[in-house]
Amino acid sequence: MWIKNRNGWNSPERDVTPESLFLNRRKFIAGAGAIAGAALVGGAFSPTEARTLKELGAKSSAFDPGEELTPYSAVTQYNNFYEFGTDKSDPYENAGSMQVDPWSVSVDGLVDRPGTYDLMDLIDFNALEERIYRLRCVEAWSMVIPWIGVPLSSVLNKIGVQSGAKYVRFETLNDRKQMPGVRWPVLDWPYVEGLRMDEAMNDLTLMAVGLYGKELPNQNGAPLRLVVPWKYGFKSIKSIVRISLTEKQPRTSWQKSAPQEYGFYSNVNPEVDHPRWSQARERRIGEFSRRKTLMFNGYGEWVADLYAGMDLAKYY
């Protein structure tokens, strides 16, 4: 009985290969070509960028780990920005619809000068500096990115920190019309993050407005985002519309989502695992094998004393 089946196998391959398979082959060859094309044109090409990214003048970096930069294409096309979808390519594909000019930030809480600030009034664009930082995602991958921005401390000094303020709370834009991802209850929107005041005032903590010499692309958190290089990437909140100074520790979106997995501090720490995966190693985007993750992502020299005497397994 089974021998009969052989007839099918003996037929020439063209008879048993469906058209869809041929077409599929062509499609992925064409797809590979498109990626090659995009790589050639580099940052100048993006399907969703409605605006041209302006060049930004900045002082050169005082912080440069001397490691190879992650290519611009990876930095801008492999992102976690769940407001635009949960796939890594979603932000690149969907974020173009976000209006970032004009942009205002409301400032409230324990500040001397509350109110609604235009981006230009909050950030001194004449004082921009470039900072090359490692970025370590909680998902155990990492990049090296040349950011442009000003220290967060300069922004906080501008709005005036009152003596009772112990924490800074940040909020991301939450707009269904512009952000397809917020229709899904992936997290409790708006996205909220926070820092302790001494963390916020630390010299490393950057308010970024650009990367690779230009304004931030939308998918990277335009026009204003936080960069806290010794913490997991999700602490570096994107597209900020509100800054509040508080006495109480703010509850962050990820804490609300899974408190046993994401703590308020979320410092990069190879010894404290995420409950579901190890944090001992990371994959640098573009490298095949994994490298060891460094304590505080290699920034212990600047930040370790912030946590002196704290049990970092408890305050993860």
Partner: protein, 207 residues
């Protein structure tokens, strides 16, 4: 619809066989390109892409194989059953690639670390259990084994696939961050396929 069993055997089976192989060929081809430093479609984190891609196809084939019997009931024809074993074996095949992707690309064949990971990470334990249960089903999928075991015992063993489906869905839900829809869609399909079976059994009891 006049498709004879003979036609399904001679043309249908090779066709489904080749179609089912396409995702694996795609993956191998793009790794070949990536390895040669050529443009490829594996994205900026090919290892993550491989893990997800093979996992996606493993659960898809598992659900497809579970859909065959209800589908045959709806058609009132045993013909779809001709494809059940092949789809089940493809589930095992893609699950195997999924494990290979994890052991090779993520763990770099570091066995002590792998063992620690399997024990410590609940979602990996769950996934590994699913594969462990799937293996004997693959091994005993031949006619010879049905004879050796006897149809009744064989069927009993192959009921394990329901547990495997459940484990696979749990594994998928657990590995995502936040509340995500995609794994829930798969879990919903699995639940629907199980409910279809329950309804059929109830119907039998009533009749």
């Amino acid at each position: 619809m006049k498709v004879s069993v003979h036609h399904l055997r001679v043309w249908g089976k090779p066709l489904i066989f080749l179609l089912s192989l396409v995702p694996a060929l795609w993956l191998v081809y793009h790794w070949y390109l990536a390895y040669g430093g050529l443009p490829h479609d594996l994205g900026f984190n090919p290892n993550e892409t491989s893990n997800r891609f093979t996992g996606d196809w493993a659960i898809r084939f598992l659900l497809l194989s579970l859909a065959v019997t209800p589908f045959a009931t709806v058609l009132r024809s045993p013909k779809p059953l001709l494809f059940r074993r092949m789809l089940g074996l493809y589930a095992l095949f893609y699950a195997g690639l999924h494990v290979l992707s994890y052991i090779w690309l993520d763990m770099a064949f570091d066995w002590p670390e792998l063992w620690a990971d399997v024990l410590k990470r609940t979602y990996i334990t769950v996934g590994m259990l699913a594969i462990l249960f799937l293996l004997p089903l693959g091994v005993t999928s031949t006619k010879g084994w049905i004879k050796r075991m006897g149809a009744k015992r064989w069927q009993k063993l192959h009921k394990l696939v329901y547990l495997i489906g459940l484990l696979a869905c749990v594994h998928f839900i657990m590995m995502r961050k936040g509340f995500q829809v995609e794994p829930l869609i798969y879990a919903g399909i699995f639940a629907a396929l199980m409910l279809a079976r329950l309804r059929k059994r109830r119907g039998k009891v009533r009749a």
